[in-house]
């Protein structure tokens, strides 16, 4: 894929036939990403490779670090240097990153981490699909935090949602995870990239008060403080220790409550604005399928087939996995007799649905443990079982 538009070379406006990985890279470039720090890992490496090719041309920098820990640390540094930054990895690499993702969460550093999921645990199935890192994206790092994770189901969405990840990351000031899977990452489909003017691009809010008045961790009602970065004269003070509004370490329960509560609440209280869902034939459904990523494609296939047979079934596709759409599930639990969750893991989203459904409907996971995806026929069978 080569750039089409000389005026905004970061946006490869036009029609392409490409992979989810390349689309995610292009979406990131379109969002304004100027720094990629990463370490190769199957099945995500094509993202790094594409960024290595594209970034230098738009005066961005690609650094292949010595490992994933350096990569995440490097992109946090770059974000504080004032540029949008990202990395891409898969399960084993994400596991290595969790400590410093925590630093990003605590210091409220915007950046994007792509996890192209493969089968796990451990080295598992390096080249085959898994959707087993859903819970890790939420709970992988120590300490209390809320976070955002988004899951695309086709190549176009890899572009759109990569861009969205940057927007959310800048708006809410946190590392956001684009949780892809191997099939989406390696699948080729048509991708249409609009002209730059048609894209909505959000960047971090900047402080307006002068440096000597500025309190870098004081937030207004949005709960998200504006972000001064290095070199702007604000003499930012950034620490992973519990800190006060000045950013100074303050190792007291009171400071901890204030700081940690806010970084959690800025997501909890803005859930509705953040969460994206696709509802498909749910209106009259008595059975709901809840699914995401590649699985959701098979699920849609199953819904189509079932509807042809007259079965009242619909699909709730979770585009946003975290924050979890508790309210929507609760509502759905009131409506349907059964929720089926096809997922390529041993019951991760199913657990969350179970929690949010409050016992009001039957919740049934349909699990594959990795390496292969459900077929529509298999899910249809599950729908028809009763």
């Amino acid at each position: 894929m080569s750039k089409k538009n000389e005026d905004s070379p970061e946006v490869a406006t036009g029609q392409h036939y490409t992979t989810g990985n390349h689309a995610a890279a292009e979406g990131s470039l379109a969002a304004g990403c100027k720094f990629f720090g990463g370490y190769p890992i199957t099945p995500s490496s094509e993202i790094a490779e594409h960024m290595a090719l594209r970034l230098p041309k738009i005066n961005g920098n690609f650094v292949q670090f010595e490992d994933e820990i350096a990569s995440i640390a490097g992109i946090l540094g770059a974000s504080w240097g004032g540029v949008k930054s990202m990395t891409a990895t898969s399960g084993p690499g994400y596991s290595l990153m969790v400590e410093n993702i925590g630093l990003g969460l605590m210091t409220e550093t915007p950046c994007v981490i792509v996890n192209v999921q493969r089968g796990g645990p451990s080295t598992g199935l390096p080249t085959l699909i898994g959707q087993q890192d859903v819970m890790q994206a939420r709970w992988g790092s120590h300490g209390d935090y809320e976070t955002i994770a988004i899951s695309p189901s086709n190549v176009q969405e890899c572009f759109d949602l990569a861009l969205e990840c940057f927007n959310l990351s800048e708006q809410y000031r946190l590392p956001v995870t684009l949780l892809m899977d191997e099939v989406i990452g390696h699948m080729s489909e048509r991708l249409v990239i609009p002209p730059k003017e048609e894209l909505t691009i959000i960047s971090r809010k900047k402080p307006t008060d002068p440096p000597d008045k500025h309190l870098p961790y004081k937030a207004d009602d949005s709960l998200v403080p504006p972000m001064a970065t290095a070199g702007e004269g604000y003499r930012v003070m950034v620490t992973g220790l519990t800190h006060d509004e000045r950013g100074y370490p303050d190792l007291t329960p009171e400071a901890q409550d204030k700081a940690v509560r806010r970084i959690n609440d800025k997501i909890r209280l803005n859930k509705d604005k953040i969460i994206k869902l696709e509802e498909y034939m749910l209106d009259d459904a008595k059975t709901a399928i809840v699914s995401f990523g590649t699985s959701a494609r098979a699920a849609k296939g199953a819904v189509n087939r079932a509807r042809k047979k007259g079965i009242k079934v619909g699909l709730l596709r979770l585009i946003t996995l975290w924050p979890f759409p508790d309210e929507k599930i609760d509502q759905l639990a009131d409506q349907v007799d059964r929720i089926i969750i096809p997922e390529i893991n041993y019951g991760q989203v199913t657990r969350e649905v179970e929690r949010a459904a409050h016992g009001k409907t039957e919740v049934k996971g349909d699990f594959r443990l990795g390496g292969a995806i459900h077929t529509p026929q298999e899910i249809l069978k599950e729908i028809e079982r009763n």
């Binding site: 100027k34 720094f35 720090g37 090719l53 230098p56 041309k57 005066n59 920098n61 690609f62 650094v63 670090f65 010595e66 490992d67 820990i69 350096a70 990569s71 640390a73 490097g74 992109i75 946090l76 540094g77 770059a78 974000s79 504080w80 240097g81 004032g82 540029v83 930054s85 400590e99 410093n100 925590g102 630093l103 290095a230 070199g231 702007e232 004269g233 604000y234 003499r235 930012v236 003070m237 950034v238 620490t239 992973g240 220790l241 100074y248 370490p249």
Partner: protein
């Protein structure tokens, strides 16, 4: 007797460098007779001496007593995670080639958990100045043995004495490609300041090892329980050997301590130079 007569020195509430420190953060948390305060002092003096623009200076640390230094300094400062100051600094640095990024951290932070980043940054000739305060142990966590502890040194996790060969930091830096390498003890404040200044004014990966006094967790277990004893020890054992072959500057118990400027290489392309070159090439080639 008047106050003046009693104390004779002129009493004051502020220090000329207070403006370079974050308001309200002094007194710092360092123990009595810990040289970290001195090093902090000297870093500020060196930044002044090098005439760097304040807002173009960033200070990055990992975790540890030494790592706390960044947070006291009134520049853009980043107190990251344990061992990760260097890659953070690299990311920070490449976003603005005019920025001077200083990494200041401890021996454990930079050479135990962070060792890999150090050798790679030196190899890449990343544009950062790394200052390591080597106090021969992990001060912050209560005095465990570390990769610079000498054989026979007692620490909480070496109750029978350390048995491993320590790293020779200047040699490690040199063999991985650092363009400037110096070592001073905490007593050599003026030479330290000169080295810091030189390192700050140089492009590429520059490294200064400072032998620090940690009376609390190192000294106490090794018959050097007072900071003044540790400085005395440095004073007795130090020998200046500019340009010494770094292979020869390893430190062992009761050996001489070779200090000085060991390496000062000119004109080696730095990471920033290389990234710029890639940008140029990418535009030349129609790939």
């Amino acid at each position: 007797m008047s106050e003046e007569e009693e104390f004779q020195l002129i009493e004051s509430d502020v220090h000329p460098l207070d403006g370079y420190l974050r308001e309200g953060r002094i007194p710092h948390i360092f123990c009595p007779a810990c040289s970290l305060g001195s090093v902090m002092n000297i870093i500020v003096e060196a930044i002044k001496e090098a005439k760097l623009e304040n807002k173009k200076v960033s200070v990055v640390s990992g975790i540890g007593c030494t790592g706390r230094i960044s947070g006291y300094l009134n520049y853009d400062s980043f107190h990251t995670t344990h061992g990760r100051a260097i890659p953070f600094a690299i990311g920070l640095g490449v976003t603005d080639p005019e920025r001077k990024v200083i990494v200041i951290s401890g021996d454990g932070d930079l050479f135990a958990i962070g060792g890999n980043h150090f050798i790679h940054a030196a190899r890449r000739n990343a544009d950062i100045t790394v200052i390591c305060v080597n106090n021969f142990n992990y001060g912050m966590t209560g005095g465990q043995v570390g990769p610079t502890s000498y054989k026979g040194q007692y620490q909480s996790t070496a109750p029978y004495g350390a048995v491993e060969e320590p790293f020779n930091l200047p040699d490690l830096a040199a063999s991985c490609g650092a363009v400037y390498v110096a070592r001073w003890s905490a007593l050599d404040v003026r030479r330290m300041k000169d080295s810091f200044t030189e390192a700050l004014l140089k492009k590429g990966f520059t490294f200064v090892e400072v032998l620090g006094s940690c009376p609390t967790t190192f000294g106490r277990r090794n018959q050097l329980a007072e900071g003044k004893k540790i400085l005395e020890y440095f004073h007795e054992k130090s020998e200046i050997q500019h340009g010494a072959d770094t292979k020869t500057v390893g430190i062992s118990k009761d050996s001489k301590i070779i200090v000085g400027k060991f390496i000062d290489i000119e004109d080696k392309p730095t990471l920033t130079d290389n990234l710029m070159a890639v940008q140029r090439m990418s535009k030349a080639k129609g790939k």
